[in-house]
Each structure stands twice: as C-alpha cells, then as structure tokens.
Amino acid sequence: MLHAERTIPQIPSVFERDLPVVSNDPVNGEYMRLVLRAPADLLEQCRAGQFFHLLCPAIGGETPYLRRPMSIYGFYPEREELHFLYKVTGEGTRALFHLGPGDSLNVLGPLGQGFRIEADWQRLVLVARGVGLATLAPLALEAQRLGRSLTAICSARNPEVLMSTDYFRDLGANVITVTDSEGTAGVDNIERIIEGLVADRGVDAFYTCGSNRLLRLLQALGERHGIPGEIALEQQMACGLGMCHCCVRPFRKNERLVNLRVCREGPVFDMQEAMPW
C-alpha cells in the first residue's frame, strides 16, 4: 500500500536553515556522528525515516555542488539537537567530515515520508546493516514512545564495527547481532533467526533499508507469514523536494511498474511493492 497522495500545504512546512554544528565525531573507524543545534519547531516536524538535504560546504578542497540526502539519525526537541550518522564515501561526505564546532551547515528538511507504525503493529522487527542504522535508529525511539516491542537485528562486518547496539538496548529493544567475521550474517542465518521470532513471539511488521539481499529475504518472509513491512530506499537526488524527477525507482503497483520519487513518495516504501535491483 502506498502513501496517499499528499495535499500540498499552503503554509511552508520545510525549513531551509543554517544550523550551528555542536559536534562531529567518529563513531567507529567508518562512521561519523554530526550533531547540529536546531530549533524545537523544526525538530517537532521530524519523523523517523525522513531525511534532510545537506548543502555540504566547499572546504578542504572539496567542491560538492548538489545537496546530499542524509537520514535523520536522531531528533531531540528537548535538547534542540538534530543528529546524522554518515559514512565518508565521496566529495560531499568528505566535506562534511571537515565540519566542527563554530561552523554551520545549511540543511533543508525534514523531507519525505517517514516509517508508518500502524496502531495494530505491536511487535516490530528491524534488520539493519552499516549506515542503514542511521535510518532505522529513530524508529526505536518512536517504538518506545508508542510502547511497542522492538527487536533489532544488527549486522556488521565484525563485532568491532557494530554500531548503536547500546542505543537500541537503552530504548528497551531486544538486540540480536550478526557479523560476517563470526559467520552469522548470512541470509540463511538471519532467516532462521526471524523464523524463530515469528514462531516464538510473533512479528507484526518488518523494517529494513538499503540491502537487496535483505529486501528479498524479508519480502519472502513477509509473503510466507502475511507480515507487512517497510523499506527505506536510496537514490541519487538533485532537488530533494519532488520537482526534478531524478530520484525515481520502480514499484509494483496493481500488476504495473510505476516510477515513484524516493524524495517525495519515499524514502520509505511498502516492502512488497519495492523492486529488488
């Protein structure tokens, strides 16, 4: 089921703002956490699964031109903080890496459709790997606020680079870790784990993001047991707002393939309608 067509508000709901950098520190060898100071009214608009479009600065010899989309990793109206978790991969994220306290960053957002947690989805399971955690983490916060039970299956190359497990535990989630180095991160093992969860306590919804392998697995499990799910997808973006139509991906909808914009109809989509790539 797709999100209903949004009616466009007459009152601007997306902010374009320079936000001061609070901190920008390594989380482990590969990831950085960027914390920005943001006004509460902006943070109150945010939902898990939404993203901001960041105007990466021209510093350190980098000259990124387009904005870069980045999931909301955390939003805390009380503390006036907006968090991102990112991996340095190219020009834009290399530029982000140079930011520090005293700098500011221009952000546009919150953008896109976040995760749905339907009223009758009590037992949630998320499967995350790598930077996918950035997108799925705030779901734990929302699950806790709504009093839902959450199991987080966290996958990584090795135990050292596992992230956010404490974060999930602190929010009362049941954390299961799987890693390549321990030989536990294979699709078969994850399937076994999830089948166990389904048999054991039952599962009402799946959440994942990014990985093709996991998408196929969860689509199969979802069909097998009639469990709905949502997936956050990525696509290169220019405007981030829905104007340019560069960020489309194909979805199965009523036996037809339709292109939907990841920035507008997504980045979160119904898992069964998503197409493995």
Partner: protein
C-alpha cells in the same frame, strides 16, 4: 517604491523572476509562498504518458550538473485535471511548457492545453524532431520556423519558444521563431554533455548523455540572450546558470526582459524570493525607478565593430 514589473508581450509579470521548466513544481510550495514569483512555469508535458529515462538521471560535474530526466509525463488529461487547478489558487500567471516528437502532435497538445487558467504556453522546441533526423527543432532555422507556424495556428495564447544552445545558428533560429509567430524567446535550454565514471567505465547518466545546467552554462546562455535580443524584436527571457541578483542584472543588461531560474533552486530552494528581494534593494540603492530601465543597456557600441577574427567563431 521601485517598480519590478516587466512585460512579456501583452503579459505583465509583477517581477522578472520565474522558475525554469523542469526545476519547479507544486512541491516547492512546501518551502515558500509561490505567490511571490513573476510567473509559474510547469515541467514540460507530452500528450501521452511517458516513463522518462533510465536512472541515474542526474550527475554532478565541476560546479554544475547534467540531467537526462527524459520528460516523464502523466499526459494532458492528468495535467488539466490536477496541475492547472493547483495553480488556480494563485494570482501569478501560469506558463505551461509542452513538447512533442512531431510538429502535428506538438500542435494538437498546444491547442488542448489552451484552456482557462493558462496564461502562456512555453514550447520546448529543444526536443528532438523525429520526422527529420532526430535533431531538435530549434537546432535549425527552417525546422524552427515550420514548427512555430503550426503551433501558432493551434492557439491564441502567447507562445514562448524555448531555444537550445546546441546550435551554431542562434540568431537565425531566433528570427525564425519570431517569424513563425513566437511572442517571446526563452534562452536557453540545457547543453548536451556527458560524464563517465572512470572506475566503472560507465556513463554517469543512464541515458548516456544529458543536458548541462547551472553556473557553467551562464556565459553561454548570456551570449545567446544577447544574440537573440539583437536578432529579434520580441522579448527575450534569459535562462541558464542564474543564481544571484547579479546574474539577473547581467541578463537584463544584455537584453533579456525577464529570467528563469533553474538549477539554483536545487542548491538553494529559496533562491528565487532571495533574488527578488536583492533586486529590489539594488534598484533602490542605485536609484533606478523600474527594472525595465535596465533591459538592453549593455554598452556595446565600440565593441560591435570590433567583432572580428577569433580563435573560434561565430
């Protein structure tokens, strides 16, 4: 109070700033009140449904971007039912961009879209003419003239012809569009370009090539706007790489009566209202009563005679 209003033929715009086709939609209303713009210009539509090009549809190049979106279109029906009504809530004139693969299909769409709520039709003649050799109508004066004549007969609304930079015959094409019945020239569309990922050895765009837009295009589009303003009598609307009020002034001085802002909105979605405010301050500071007083004020008398032998021509 300074006067920002400009006239594009019979159509008066409250200011010379409008979006470029394909870089604007209803969605931008999430960010600011669209009523502040001089006009609303919609993404090019075709008569029927079109999926658009394969992804990736955009990529970055040095300080600019390439795109090959491929005009995904929900067709004329959806447009009339959904899009036009959305813009009715605004006083701002609505300019509808259309295109077609053959002159006849193009003309049919032109007449179908000539409905209440539409103030002008921008005809994107930078698209390929499949009846000839697949080159864009606006690459040659002859095909420009032919298609404009058909489009002219199809509507009584103002017709804005959007030209391509992929030609060595800009003045000739401008005159052909004017003679074919255009009421204004939009100068210009994107320039055909390419980028390759050296790691994968694949083109960075799914469609192999795409159009260059953004700051790199500005000096080329400015040259074309100047050439068109000299070659034709109808108003010129500058477009290409505009991202500041200074850029707008450069186009106005070169001879453009108004401008369109495209890619800059992707980088800074509030750039159009910012430019309008800056333009207003500039006029106040410089004691210029009307933005119209700037149009075509380039001092080129000395140089006109001087255009001689160059490394590159024309």
């Amino acid at each position: 109070m300074v006067d920002l209003a400009v006239d594009i033929g019979a159509l008066r715009l409250k200011n010379p700033i409008m979006p470029a086709s394909g870089t604007f939609s209803e969605d931008l209303a999430d960010v600011f009140d669209l009523e502040c713009l001089g006009a609303h210009v919609t993404k090019t539509i075709t008569r029927g449904w079109r999926d658009g090009n394969p992804t990736p549809r955009v990529c970055e190049v040095s300080g600019s971007m390439l795109n090959s979106i491929g005009i995904p279109s929900k067709g004329i029906g959806y447009f009339i039912e959904k899009t036009i009504p959305f813009y009715r809530r605004y006083q701002t004139p609505l300019v509808v961009s259309i295109s077609g693969n053959t002159a006849d299909e193009f003309a049919t769409l032109c007449s179908e879209v000539s409905v209440d709520g539409v103030d002008a039709i921008e005809v994107n003649i930078s698209c390929p003419n499949i009846e000839e050799d697949g080159k864009a109508f606006a690459i040659r004066a002859s095909s420009t003239y032919d298609v404009m004549c058909k489009l002219r007969k199809a509507t009584s609304l103002p017709l804005w012809a959007k030209l391509t930079p992929n030609t060595g015959e800009t003045p000739e094409v401008a005159r052909a569009a004017e003679e074919g019945g255009a009421d204004a020239l939009v100068v210009a569309n994107t320039l055909l370009a390419m980028a390759i990922d050296i790691r994968t050895r694949k083109p960075k765009l799914g469609n192999l090539m795409g159009g260059l837009s953004g700051p790199s295009l500005k000096p080329i589009a400015l040259r074309m706007a100047y050439q068109c303003a000299k070659a034709a009598k109808i108003p010129v609307i500058g477009c290409g790489g505009i991202s500041t009020a200074e850029d707008v002034l450069e186009f106005l001085i070169a001879g453009a009566s108004a401008v369109q802002v495209g890619t800059a909105t992707f980088i800074n979605p509030t750039v159009m209202p910012a430019i309008i405010a800056d333009l207003q301050s500039y006029l106040e500071r410089e004691n210029i009563a009307s933005v119209r007083d700037l149009v075509g004020t380039v001092i080129d008398d000395e140089q006109k005679a001087g255009v001689v032998f160059m490394e590159t021509a024309p």
